[in-house]
């Protein structure tokens, strides 16, 4: 499957999806770590892709949603942003609402 199709599929099939450096329980970047922790704190399942282990995704993800950096977090098929946005939404309680809404819609 073409890499852009793989990214599209991951974003569409997972209510919450993070493309990060490393894995949620073994992050390899401070920003990826913060974002993954914010998602884990929401208590819902989420999909993840380790872009260090998938160089093709790493090289092509920036043009998928015209976003130049990692991590990238998608909720309900939409890019919500990177680590700073995810942490800020987590702190003001919005992230939980967004994750809950997307998870219900997907179930």
């Amino acid at each position: 499957m073409d890499v852009m199709d793989r990214i599209k599929q991951a974003v569409e099939e997972n209510a919450v999806m993070i493309f990060m450096k490393g894995e949620p329980k073994m992050p390899m970047c401070g920003f990826s770590s913060q974002a993954a922790q914010a998602l884990m704190a929401c208590g819902k399942e989420f999909g993840y892709c380790n872009v260090i282990a998938d160089q093709e995704v790493m090289a092509n993800l920036p043009r998928f949603a015209d976003w130049p950096t990692f991590p990238q977090i998608y909720i309900g098929g939409e890019l919500i942003g990177g680590a700073d946005i995810t942490v800020e939404l987590s702190q003001n309680g919005e992230l939980q609402k967004m994750v809950d809404a997307a998870s219900v819609a997907k179930a």
Partner: protein, 102 residues
């Protein structure tokens, strides 16, 4: 021009700025001593009024596209003047004089 100055200059050109702070955080990372790789931007501007965080970050990403391609990390914190006031209870502080006018 170093990277920090370049980032400040580009943002100054592109935004109506109430407060801008660019911090070089490279020393917090395991990189060569002369590297300029990790930066944090705090930008308070009423240009962000009515815009979601993702849109605000896109505005900065576009302005700093060239710089982003040459550094490893750019942390972004974006607020309107009102949001800053709500969060910190005061208007953004101007930086201290550092003696440059003497």
């Amino acid at each position: 021009m170093n990277m920090q100055t370049q980032i400040e200059a580009k943002l100054n050109q592109s935004f109506n700025i109430n407060f801008l702070e660019v911090v070089n955080e490279t020393h917090m990372h395991n990189v060569p001593a002369d590297a300029e790789s990790h930066f944090k931007v705090t930008l308070v501007s009423n240009d962000f009024e009515g815009k979601m965080l993702v849109a605000r970050h896109r505005m900065i990403n576009k302005t700093l596209a060239e710089e982003i391609s040459n550094i490893h990390a750019l942390a972004l914190h974006t607020m309107t003047e009102e949001e800053y006031f709500k969060k910190f209870g005061k208007i953004p502080e101007s930086p201290q004089c550092m003696g440059g006018g003497a």
